[in-house]
Symmetry: C2
Subunit: 441 residues, 2 copies
């Protein structure tokens, strides 16, 4: 390509990777189109706060076109990509075929149910704002239905919440659910005691936060236990039904089951017709392009990228952002006649939050946990949150929550039913004795 | 009833009326149960701000049990009332029959489509948080679909938003939509110009805000016009179809149609088996109780209450709150052996907001409009907003919006389709010429 022509770049997906690439390209002489199925960029590391009623959706998500509006050369379209025509260099959506000179595919990942898609309605995962609102609805509703059941004189209810998978998402969900049950709802119920809610974290592998060093896994498990979470490692979930999970022959009743056990690359990876790894990720080349197509880059959770000693680059926001910047620089380098380099992942450390004043973190050889890790986590996440206004609002919400234990967004919207919860005159789930609502006749 | 027994009071509905009654009773020697279909009290006067992406749901709604948690004698239950057994003094829900000594029915009102319930999916009204989110989704999505359509080279799109009914809700929706189109979305689209959006306010009667004095109606219409709203009075909507409204023989294409033309009392009024007025409201006695049942009160939008010269008490939050306080005082008076008085509505004035720095207000003989009315409206509504935290957050949001014209909650969640908008290779709605997306080939 001659340096004089203005290349058309299409970015598919406005997560951390796609958005970083777009911002990098937006300042330069390219015609850029950003496609996303949603109108908003979601700050995924704080999604669990929406799921647990600590923050409102508007505080962790911002319209993509608002983020990019300062750049007149950038076009943002709400569209669902169906296919790629790599030969004719077209991105195919139901509405149009969009030509490109360069393509950056950053379509991310979604939940994987390991061949059990029928579990999805029973155990929602946490990837989108809609997912978070559905989890919030179920969690808050479980307390309401239990209160109503006991108040109606139909026996006690033991509330069980099961979180499947003890990666970062499962750990933060379980920890925060414990905080809600033990603190946020205190004093608000008359017939049930929310603090009696049983929070169970089920992990198939031998330890929580398996991607972290062993000492931090141990610390995380201790912190979870202190928050009131029961952690069961080496426990495979073999079946999920409405109102219960099975681990082998054991049926564990649970009014709310949340899925944090696996992610798979977006099915869009298949449309590129190049080799994929077992998780469906595109095995990219050193410059993050795909074999035979130097003009097509795959970045973020959709890409399988190796770095030193054959380790895979982790599916984290900073990694996606580094890749987005790298792909953008490759395109700009092409325009200026520079030759491409190889992507190098810089591991700046990782932090996982567990709950109130509880977290673990690894920065090279430095391992931290507890309050210090939590403060670092807080600071970094609020600082990276998109948009000045959101940062201020989130900080106020958090300061308030921290001081009062309140959760600011405890709304149930949508249906008032839970899978497996049937209102009859018999107890719905795990009755434990007869009516005790003594002052009602 | 002897003054010594502790009466059981059931309040149905936790809107302004029910919540005020509950708070008044909570401090005294009664056993109180508050029933609501939702877990949250909604600050309805600010609902249009959620519908127009200015505020998040969590900022104008708070869990009912959080509001009342300080009172150990108060029980809050999420429940949908099906029926009343006035003889046996029972409130019937699907789960239980709740006995009462006193009953306060404050179930409010909902949209009325005047026998055209089939219009509801085509033209949503604004009564709940869910309604507001659906309106927000449609409004934001219309701009996205138009941008995508034009960017795809399939002709221009003229966006038309029609608001049916020019009462306070219709006026504030139309005014705020104009603000969004003309200011908030500026600079963000490349193929369409949101400022070209046509906002149409259709009113069957001769003037907007018919409940206000004529000079304020005139002022409101002028302010609407200045904001860019086309006001059509004396215009009956005779039919609504996907993508259009009809006024007589005229078909007006409209990608978004909003309904603000009528409310009707909750169908629960019929379950009381007492005389109703034409809008389905319960015609209560002087003490707000129903004939033959001094222990049953009906308050708020569900009640038809006359005050001086036979005028009806308006369906406003202050009126409902006064009635809630009065009903609670009747119950407490009964307990103390005082005789009942007649409810007197104190009209403290009314304010209707129109848009940015635009409003009208009436305080007795004082009529105000424009900036002063808007400031008064702002002050009063933020002050009355439930919960200290919400007030602070809302004020920050508003200060930010006022300075920047930004809308903080512009998220599209849920489906990416609009009724009547079909993506084909022909233009979807009112094509006005051929493809113009010149720089796309």
């Amino acid at each position: 390509m001659s340096p004089r022509t203005i290349p058309r770049v299409v970015v598919v997906g406005a997560g951390f990777g796609g958005l970083t690439a777009a911002k990098e390209l937006a300042k330069r002489q390219v015609r850029l189109t950003v496609l996303d199925r949603k109108n908003h960029h979601t700050f995924q590391p704080l999604l669990y706060q929406v799921a647990t009623a600590g923050l409102s959706p508007g505080e962790i998500a911002a319209p993509i076109r608002e983020i990019l509006r300062g750049h007149q050369s950038v076009e943002v379209l709400l569209a669902e990509v169906q296919d790629f025509d790599l030969e004719r260099r077209l991105v195919v959506t139901p509405e149009q075929a969009l030509p490109y000179d360069y393509l950056i595919v950053a379509a991310g990942a979604s939940h994987a149910y390991f061949g059990h898609d029928e579990w999805e309605p029973l155990a929602p995962g946490l990837k989108t704002i809609e997912d978070a609102l559905e989890i919030r609805r179920r969690v808050l509703l479980a307390f309401e239905l239990a209160e109503r059941h006991v108040a109606g004189g139909r026996g006690q209810v033991r509330l069980n919440f099961a979180v499947v998978g003890a990666g970062p998402t499962g750990v933060e969900l379980a920890g925060t659910l414990a905080e809600i049950a033990h603190h946020a709802l205190k004093m608000e119920f008359r017939s049930i005691d929310p603090a009696m809610t049983h929070i169970l974290l089920l992990e198939g592998g031998p330890r929580v936060l398996a991607a972290y060093p062993e000492d931090l896994s141990r610390s995380a498990e201790e912190q979870l236990t202190k928050l009131g979470v029961e952690v069961q490692t080496n426990t495979q979930v073999t079946q999920i039904e409405a109102g219960a999970v099975w681990t082998g022959d054991t049926r564990i009743p649970a009014q709310v089951v949340l899925w944090a056990a696996g992610v798979a690359a977006s099915p869009l990876s298949k449309k590129l017709h190049v080799p994929l790894d077992r998780a469906g990720r595109v095995v990219v080349q050193g410059d993050l392009s795909i074999p035979g197509h130097p003009e097509v880059f795959v970045i973020g959770d959709l890409a399988s990228v190796k770095y030193d000693e054959g380790k895979l680059v982790p599916g984290l926001a900073p990694a996606a952002m580094q890749q987005g910047r790298f792909a953008a620089q490759c395109i700009l380098g092409d325009m200026e006649g520079r030759s491409r380099t190889t992507f190098r992942y810089r591991d700046k450390g990782t932090l996982a939050t567990i709950g109130r004043a509880a977290a673990v973190g690894q920065f090279g050889k430095l391992h931290i946990s507890g309050y210090l890790a939590w403060l670092s986590w807080l600071f970094i996440h609020v600082m990276f949150l998109v948009g000045f206004r959101n940062r201020v609002l989130v900080m106020i919400q958090w300061a308030w929550s921290y001081l009062t234990y309140e959760r600011g967004a405890r709304l149930i919207t949508g249906s008032n039913t839970l899978p497996g919860w049937v209102e009859t005159n018999s107890a719905p789930a795990e009755p434990e004795g007869a009516a005790t609502a003594a002052d009602r006749k």
